[in-house]
Every structure is written in structure tokens, then in C-alpha cells.
């Protein structure tokens, strides 16, 4: 099987671990990945202003690249890339007036009308690989690892691009169960991580992050999984500060879901770039004997 893949800028820089672990996992699952050619920024944040079409041009251009390469599906990993691409795609599919304006503006490209389907890797694993197959492929079951699936905002909102209905967390739940982990549902799984408020409203963002981490810990989770680099930044990379400020009592290591998948599939830890996670993340997996011998 071969898939067209859109990485996103952050996956090439600060969230390299989200990507390398996913690519290693897909390789282990026997899936060929083709990164689309000449991609640009996804747009990062979907513009809610109805007539602000210029901010749809970036995501649409990526979808055109996928169409040019003959793809009917484009797989993404990052929640925010998924969200902006999928929402821009909806405009191109369903709104003839906006579609026409955007196509006319992009007269250097082929016309686009939503022909490519934007698919998050979690959905792809469910629909194209199947949890049974993944269960069979597991080499190192994540036994005894109590993991909280954290969705944040952009995987489920708005409903017309959500990877599953609001309030449901079955994709990550079934994934981690297939990997042998114990899934710990928690109340804050779809609460905002603090988002970009970390830049100019650090206090608010920190208390939001602390609420989520405490909720996970209280539910009995010892780690948290996400698919969003911004969530990981606020919940993972800020944990040192949160502890220091007394906002949380215990560390809750954060992983990208792709890292847990890779480890369970027997991928070498080096391919998962745990150097980009908090130090506690690798230690926890070591303690659980989840790492293949180096």
C-alpha cells in the first residue's frame, strides 16, 4: 500500500519525533509513504472570517500538489495541519462561489474542487490497516502502561471535519488497546491545551495545562498521548515550569501517539526521537520494559 503524505513545518523542526516515529511505524506496517512535492505551510490556524479567502490559498495549494501527484487521499499527522487542510478542502468541495474565487486567484495552478480527501493517520490506521492487524504486528506490548488519550481541540472540532464525534475518543483508545496499553479515559481529554495563549498569556495557559495534566493523573494515567505539536508544547515541554510553580504535583510524561505505536511495533527508540520529549518520557518506557534491546 502506498500513501501520499503531508508532514507540516513543525514536524520538520520541533516536532520531528511525531514524524520520525510515524514513518518508522508505517515502514514496519509495510506501508509506503510518499511525501508530496513542494508543499508549503498548511495555514496553521483556520481563518474563521468568512470572506478571508487569502488564508485558504496556502492549504488549498497543498491539496492541489496532492491532486497533481494523482493522490485521492492525503494523510497528515499533526492535528492542526489536519484541521486547516480538511476545512479548506470543505470550502473547495461545498462552496462554489468561494471555490471559483480561489481557483481564479490561483491561476498558476490546476483547478481544484475538493477531489483529494484529507485523512488523519488515526483514521487511516482504523480504515486501511485495522486494529486487528496492528495487534498482530505488535512486538513489544505496552503492558502496564496507563495512557490517557488526549485529543485537544482540533481533532474533533468542528464536527464536519472531526475524526470522530465530539465526546468520543475511540480511535486512540482502540489504538492503545491494540498496542497492549491500558487506556485511562479522563475528563479533560478534549479541553484546550492553552494554545497560542502561551505566547502572551503565559499564566492562563499554564493553569489550563495544569488542569489537564492533573485531570489525567487523577484518572490514574501515568502518561498522556497527543497528535498535536502545540498541545505537546503546552503540556509536555512546559511541565518543568508547571512543577516549579507548584501548579502540578507529579510529572505526566507526554508522547505523540506515533511514538507509542512505533515502540510497540518494535522500532528502535532512536527512530522515535525521545530527545525531543521531556526526559521522563523515555524513562517511563524503560521502567515498563517497553523498549527493544539496543
Amino acid at each position: 500500500m502506498k500513501i501520499s503524505y503531508y508532514p507540516g513545518c513543525t514536524l520538520k523542526t520541533k516536532a520531528g519525533n511525531l514524524e520520525t516515529a510515524a514513518l518508522a511505524s508505517l515502514l514496519a506496517l509495510g506501508i509506503e509513504v510518499e511525501e508530496i512535492d513542494r508543499w508549503n505551510c498548511c495555514g496553521a490556524v483556520f481563518s474563521l472570517t468568512a470572506d478571508d479567502l487569502i488564508h485558504q490559498v496556502g492549504p488549498v495549494r497543498n491539496l492541489i500538489r496532492a491532486k497533481e501527484q494523482g493522490a485521492n487521499k492525503l494523510v497528515t499527522l499533526c492535528s492542526m495541519c489536519y484541521n486547516t487542510l480538511a476545512r479548506a478542502n470543505l470550502i473547495m468541495k461545498n462552496d462554489p462561489v468561494k471555490r471559483d474565487t480561489i481557483n481564479r486567484f490561483m491561476d498558476d495552478e490546476i483547478d481544484y474542487a475538493g477531489e483529494v480527501e484529507v485523512v488523519h493517520l488515526l483514521t487511516f490506521l482504523d480504515q486501511e490497516v485495522g486494529w486487528e492487524r496492528i495487534r498482530e504486528m505488535v512486538k513489544v506490548p505496552l503492558e502496564g502502561l496507563r495512557i490517557a488519550p488526549y485529543y485537544g481541540c482540533t481533532l474533533q472540532r468542528p464536527a464536519d471535519v472531526g475524526i470522530e464525534p465530539f465526546g468520543s475518543f475511540s480511535l486512540m483508545t482502540r489504538l492503545f488497546e491494540s498496542l497492549g496499553a491500558t487506556v485511562m479515559p479522563f475528563a479533560a481529554a478534549d479541553k484546550c491545551c492553552g494554545s497560542y495563549q502561551i505566547l502572551n498569556g503565559e499564566d492562563g495557559a499554564q493553569s489550563t495545562a495544569a488542569t489537564i495534566l492533573k485531570s489525567a493523573a487523577e484518572a490514574g494515567a501515568e502518561a498522556l498521548a497527543t497528535s498535536c505539536p502545540l498541545c505537546e508544547y503546552n503540556l509536555g515541554k512546559q511541565q518543568g515550569k508547571l512543577l516549579e510553580n507548584g501548579l502540578i504535583g507529579t510529572t505526566v510524561p507526554t508522547y505523540y501517539f506515533t511514538q507509542l505505536l512505533a515502540i510497540a511495533l518494535g522500532v528502535a527508540p532512536e527512530s522515535c526521537r525521545f530527545d525531543l520529549n521531556d526526559g521522563a518520557a523515555l524513562d517511563l518506557l524503560k521502567n515498563k520494559n517497553c523498549l527493544v534491546a539496543a
Partner: protein, 265 residues
């Protein structure tokens, strides 16, 4: 000569009269519009020559006249078409009904830095040019480039932290500034690309080891005697040496030729 000039004038009335308005007999003229005013200029001229023919004098905005220096970017539009076109005035041949404007300079932010201090991380480039993240991928920059550089491609590469890719994609840039003139994010693309190439050259590109070896040899004095010998020669003797020098034959197979004198290899 006088008669010829008269004849030409009769054949093609309303010919622009610059200080070098010498039109060969039978030359065909075409109308172009320079800053909105019509001039009839000989076809086959470049935009730059046509403007000079029309009487304009380039004190600035002209450099090498060979398509390399980037001093003479031009924006033009063909009558009746909405599409903007871009080129270098010294390289683009005039066509009938061109509406022309020179953009010899466009104000673009240029950051100061010390190349030996900034390091090879893309974050340093991001910090110097935060406006990089104002890009909305409209691609007007790429469409404006007279050198067909994938400007959006290298801007995207830099956002992705890929300095090598940005340096390679922007290699043909001649710093004309047309990209910046079209950018709705007010990004000075060509200055950022130059920084990327400098960082690439300073920190990322592999060093040429044979060059370092040769520099060491020179510094060790290996060639001093030879240089002194040459410096002491008179003109005639130098010429003789030059004519009689050992030279690799044209089209000799690579790596097969060796000079008889090998002490300086």
C-alpha cells in the same frame, strides 16, 4: 546618410527621438508604453535599449546589461490582458503594446548579523526575519521572479528549517527584489535567501579539503622559490616561458595527462 534618415522618418512617423535615435533603413517600429506614454521603438530591441532609444538615460537601474546583476527589473502588461509579466530590461525583447515600468529598487527590510556568531540553526534566521511567518503561500513571489526561482519553495523550506534546500532553491537569485515588491506579507524574500546561502556556505556545506591542503602548502613556502624566479624574469623571458609552458591538450581524457615537471603538484 542624411537621405537615409529622411526616408526612415517618412516610413515610420512619430519615432521617438533620443540622443541615439539612429534607425536603420527599413527598420520596423512597434508601439510601447513607458510609464503610460506611447513611444514607437524599433522591434528586436531589448526593453533597456528601447527605453534609451526613446530618450531615457539610465543613471541607476542598469548594471551588467547581461542578465546577471539584477539592477533592471521590469514589470509589464500587454494591452488588453490583466496578467502582469516580469523580466529584466536588459534581457527582454520589446513587443507591441507593452506597458512598461522599471522597478530599479524596492524598499525591503535587511537584517544585520554577524555570520560567525549566528550558527546553523534555522531559528537564527527566523529570529532575524520573523516576517517569514507572514507568508500565506499566495505564490505571487514565484510568479514575479525573472529567474524562475521557486521563491515560495525556498520560503517554505526555511519555515521547515531546511537551510540546505533554501540555499539550493534560491541559487539563481540575482537580488532584483521583484519578489519583495509583490509580497502581501511584506517579506524581503531575497535578503532572507541570501542569509540562508551564507549560513549554508559557512556552516553546512562540506569544506573542500584539497583547497585547505593547497593553502597549507602555499603557507609552508613550497611555491616561494618559483614565485621569486618568475618575479625576477624580464618581459621577454616571461613571454617565452608562457609560450613554452606545458599545457594539458584540449579534449584529453580526464585524469590521463601528467606534466613532465611534477615538483609543484
Amino acid at each position: 546618410m542624411c537621405d537615409a534618415e529622411k526616408k526612415t522618418t517618412q516610413k515610420t512617423p512619430r519615432v521617438a527621438t533620443g540622443d541615439r535615435a539612429i534607425l536603420p533603413e527599413g527598420a520596423k517600429t512597434i508601439p510601447v508604453y513607458i510609464m503610460g506614454k506611447r513611444y514607437d521603438v524599433p522591434e528586436t530591441l531589448t526593453i533597456m535599449k528601447a527605453m534609451e532609444f526613446a530618450g531615457f538615460k539610465f543613471l541607476r537601474g542598469a548594471g551588467c546589461r547581461g542578465g546577471i546583476c539584477g539592477a533592471c527589473p521590469t514589470v509589464y502588461r500587454m494591452a488588453g490582458d490583466y496578467k502582469l509579466h516580469f523580466g529584466l530590461a536588459c534581457q527582454t525583447v520589446v513587443e507591441a503594446d507593452m506597458y512598461l515600468a522599471q522597478i530599479p529598487f524596492f524598499p525591503a527590510n535587511r537584517a544585520s548579523y554577524k555570520i560567525d556568531e549566528i550558527g546553523a540553526a534555522a531559528e537564527a534566521i527566523h529570529a532575524l526575519y520573523p516576517e517569514l511567518f507572514r507568508c500565506v503561500a499566495c505564490n505571487l513571489c514565484t510568479k514575479a521572479c525573472p529567474m524562475d526561482v521557486d521563491v515560495l519553495g525556498y520560503i517554505s523550506a526555511l519555515k521547515q528549517g531546511n537551510i540546505k534546500k533554501a540555499a539550493e532553491l534560491s541559487f539563481d537569485c540575482i537580488q532584483c527584489g521583484l519578489c519583495a515588491s509583490r509580497c502581501m506579507g511584506e517579506i524581503p524574500q531575497y535578503h532572507i535567501a541570501q542569509l540562508a546561502r551564507r549560513v549554508y556556505g559557512r556552516y553546512i556545506q562540506p569544506r573542500a579539503e584539497h583547497l585547505q591542503t593547497r593553502v597549507k602548502e602555499i603557507e609552508s613556502g613550497k611555491y616561494d622559490a618559483m614565485l621569486q624566479e618568475l618575479s625576477a624574469m624580464g618581459r621577454e623571458e616571461l613571454e617565452k616561458c608562457y609560450v613554452e609552458r606545458e599545457r594539458e591538450p584540449d579534449l584529453s581524457t580526464l585524469g590521463t595527462w601528467q606534466p613532465k615537471e611534477t615538483q609543484y603538484l
